[in-house]
């Protein structure tokens, strides 16, 4: 194994933060849904994938038209991805999960796996089978590189980071400061009691899915534009699982924990690449997952949950 290139380390850390921001956005959805439904929404990663495609198709529709200001276009892409994913999330909840509200948790989990597979493979019907090229080069108006303390940071990465932080702040505000957010926390604390207290649980669950999916959509749009991951209908599978690991890492159901977990996952992945073990890049998430599940299943910030 070649020796480590320490000069590259800050660069890799910045890359990690960038990737972590996207993982964090997806992880928020996992954590919120787990909070209210105690369900690992396996399909969440695929909602993120749909977000990538929506951004792509929006860009293809309006890009290269003189009249369209690129910043407006980017904003439009963000909005369309978020709204589209929110609707998709709501649809999934209504069709697949709601009828199973009182079923054993394992049945719901199996359904979630089924929905995930359906989106991945059924997506082949709707989206192009051959992966279209990424849209990073075409649409990206923030392609200049800035030099911060010797680390090359493209502007787009800063923007992604900034948007993520803004979205997270909005989420934090929503959950802690509004009546609906309070109801959501009540539901995640105790489903039945919240219902008895007059909280419309179905509505809250719907809102949770809408918000979580919208965040995933935003993550998808940013990944597609800034990172330029190739688009396939399976593009959401691994990021989804990794974001789930991030959510577990931060203590599932814990919103700040999911954000921190997302950043840790992003950095860890880049560090593994930096260490010359690029082939094991995808395994690192699972290793972290298993270690955390065995040592501290409640996550870093969660209470040590009783496994019983």
């Amino acid at each position: 194994m070649e020796s480590l290139d320490w000069g590259q380390l800050p660069q890799q850390l910045v890359n990690g933060l960038q990737l972590g921001a996207i993982y964090a956005l997806i992880a928020l959805g996992y954590t919120m849904v787990y909070g209210v439904l105690k369900l690992i929404n396996f399909a969440h990663g695929d909602v993120y994938m749909v977000g990538m495609y929506l951004a792509y198709y929006t860009a293809m529709q309006w890009f290269n038209r003189e009249a369209m200001n690129p910043y407006v276009l980017l904003f439009l892409m963000l909005i369309i991805s978020m709204v589209g994913c929110a609707l998709l999330g709501l649809l999934i909840e209504r069709v697949a999960y709601r009828p199973l509200r009182n079923a054993p948790r394992i049945s719901v989990l199996i359904t979630a796996i089924g929905v995930s597979l359906l989106l991945e493979h059924g997506g082949l019907l709707v989206f192009k089978t051959s992966p279209p090229p990424s849209i990073a080069q075409d649409v990206n108006v923030f392609s200049q590189t800035m030099d911060i303390f010797g680390v090359a940071v493209t502007q787009s990465r800063l923007v992604v980071f900034g948007v993520t932080v803004v979205l997270m702040f909005l989420l934090w505000y929503f959950v802690t400061q509004t009546q609906t957010g309070r109801a959501m926390r009540a539901v995640s604390h105790d489903f039945n009691t919240a219902a008895l207290m007059g909280v419309n649980v179905s509505r809250i669950i719907g809102i949770t899915f809408i918000i979580g999916s919208a965040l995933a959509g935003a993550g998808g749009m940013m990944n597609a534009t800034a990172l330029g991951t190739p688009l396939t209908t399976f593009a959401g599978l691994l990021p989804g699982v990794k974001a789930f690991v991030a959510a577990v890492l931060g203590g599932i159901g814990n919103i700040p924990g999911a954000v921190v977990g997302g950043f840790i996952m992003g950095i860890a992945e880049n560090l593994v690449v930096w260490g010359g073990l690029g082939g094991y890049k995808d395994a690192v998430a699972f290793v972290i997952l298993i270690i955390i599940l065995l040592l501290r299943p409640g996550g870093l910030f969660g209470s040590p949950v009783d496994k019983v």
Partner: protein, 539 residues
């Protein structure tokens, strides 16, 4: 009657006889398969048999973990992989001119043991977790194993320069697997699970599934039981992997990724969690379906869209009707009418086809449709008149149910002349005949006839509704422009179809098609009313 007095079933003489007979039977099956069936099949058909039986065995082995012991494991492909790679690697490097039968038997043991060790490594830590956490942990372990194997290409990321071909896989494994090996392994795995469930040991596994705390308090060491189940299941998967590797000749890590794990899981879940019969049937059926989909013609995008839209429409209509003032009966009548329209359509179409003199086959199909359609309509009329007690809707559905059974029978006959593999033909016919027998002959069936009729009616209405829907879709300029020439190949959609099946089964019958039921001669006897169990009338 089973109650009150239980006569011990154990008697030495009978025991020896039964054992001897079952061994003879297995030997006879293996002999017939190898000497009679295989020579009459082409290579492709033999491959179909091998693959479907291998996947059925995999499903049965996962069922031991998921269904019988209730530990939700989602990483089963990893053990399949370990068995395949370990034995494949050994064969590739050391097999020379040894006796093939002895070698493959040895390799099966090697693959099984290797997978069992992997099972211990994965199981000991993860089985401390439960439910969805266990699912994710096993998923993670499965992926880790696959990624490690994928990186063993003899270069710098390999452990000790181990060369397993990396992402390109291991090739040139000697093809030592015969069809009868697979048959024997399948029977062996099913027999082991079946035997287990016949003893108190098996009950302790079930107890862990039902309630861990109560099982502990009753003296069942749950940790040990779970690990044992996990290791047993893993070992079986490893044995299957060995035969798989020696059948295909080359293996790649992609064959064993998450979607394979999900596929095996789908088989278990659809078959019925905890039912060996269900897992085996669903495993073979889904694998055959997958293979059949590879051969089916491409379908125009708009047609497919038409089917999807009309399916949604029908479901929506049925749901609204049930809630409306027409109620349950109105729904039945509506469904039956649509089904009857489909039958009438079949008659008309049959008339057109039977007049077509070009091809004898087409003419035959036409006559068959004509006959079945008219007979079915007759059935409905008879049912309408005869079953006095039921509502009009139920009577109509009963008629449709009988019609469906008839269609299944004629369908079998027509199906026999299609161009698909003989293996798929036989299995489809077996399934249709079983369904027809079940619905027409059994005690359950007579009561279940309206339900069966409802299914037939749903399909019928789908066909009826699809025609106008497709026409409407064609007239939408946006769709027509974009999708006019698009064709979908069912092969690419097979996983989507499985996923859809999975979701539907979960929504309709979360316990799986067969539930906890097992095939047994008792069940058959009960089904055909030869034996009545008082206890069955549970309230």
């Amino acid at each position: 009657m089973a109650a009150a007095t239980v006569t011990p079933s154990f008697a030495p003489g009978r025991y020896v006889l039964v054992r001897l007979l079952s061994f003879l039977l297995v030997a006879a099956i293996a002999f017939v398969v190898e000497r009679q069936v295989v020579p009459s099949l082409n290579n492709y058909d033999a491959t179909l048999i091998v693959r479907s039986l291998l996947y059925a065995s995999l499903a049965v082995s996962l069922n031991l973990i998921n269904g019988i012991t209730g530990q939700f494991s989602v990483g089963h492909a990893a053990f399949f992989l370990v068995g395949a790679y370990v034995s494949g690697y050994v064969t590739r490097n050391y097999f020379d001119s040894q006796d093939p039968l002895l070698w493959i038997t040895g390799m099966t043991v090697v693959g099984g043991v290797a997978a069992a060790i992997a099972g211990i490594v994965v199981g000991l830590p993860s089985l401390r977790l439960r439910g969805d956490y266990l699912a994710v942990a096993t998923l993670g372990f499965g992926e880790i194993i696959r990624i490690i194997v994928q990186n063993q290409d003899g270069k710098n990321l390999s452990f000790g320069g181990l060369d397993l071909g990396g992402a390109f896989g291991l090739n040139k494994i000697d093809k030592l697997t015969h069809v009868w090996h697979v048959v024997v392994l399948f029977i062996l795995i099913v027999a082991l699970c079946r035997n287990l469930l016949k003893t108190s040991h098996g009950l302790s596994f079930l107890a862990v599934r039902e309630d861990e705390l109560a099982a502990e308090a009753t003296g069942v060491n749950t940790t040990r039981t779970k690990v044992v189940a996990f290791v047993l299941g893993a070992a079986m998967a490893g044995m299957v992997g060995t035969l798989f590797a020696h059948h295909e000749g080359f293996i790649t890590p992609v064959t064993f990724d998450m979607s394979t794990s999900f596929l095996i899981l789908t088989m278990v879940v659809i078959g019925g969690t905890g039912s060996i019969t269900g897992a085996a049937l669903a495993g073979a059926a889904l694998k055959l379906l997958e293979e059949a989909l590879r051969k089916i013609d491409q379908i125009p995008a708009i047609d497919l869209l038409g089917y999807i839209v009309s399916a949604l429409l029908v479901l929506l209509l049925v749901k609204t009707l049930r809630r409306s003032r027409f109620g349950e009966n109105g729904r039945h009548v509506f469904l039956s009418l649509l089904g009857a329209v489909a039958l009438a359509g079949a008659v008309v179409k049959g008339l057109a086809l039977s007049g077509d003199a070009d091809s004898g086959y087409v003419r035959f199909v036409g006559w068959a449709m004509l006959a079945v359609g008219s007979l079915s309509i007759l059935f409905i009329v008879v049912a309408l008149v005869r079953r006095a007690g039921a509502t009009v809707g139920e009577r109509m559905l009963t008629g449709l149910g009988w019609a469906g059974a008839l269609i299944a029978l004629v369908g079998c006959y027509v199906h026999w002349f299609t161009g698909v593999s003989v293996v798929i033909k036989v299995s489809v016919i077996a399934m249709l005949l079983a369904l027809a027998a079940f619905t027409t002959l059994s005690g359950h069936g007579r009561r279940g006839m309206p339900a069966f009729g409802a299914v037939v009616a749903l399909f019928g209405s789908l066909i009826v509704v699809k025609m106008p829907v497709t026409m409407a879709l064609h007239s939408v300029p946006f769709i027509e422009e974009n999708l006019k020439d698009t064709l979908y190949s069912p092969n690419n959609l097979r996983m989507a179809i499985f996923a859809f099946l999975l979701v539907v089964v979960m929504l309709v019958r979360p316990i799986g098609v067969l539930g906890h039921h097992e095939f047994s001669w008792d069940l058959v006897k009960r089904m055909f009313g030869m034996k009545h169990k008082q206890q069955e009338i549970a309230v």
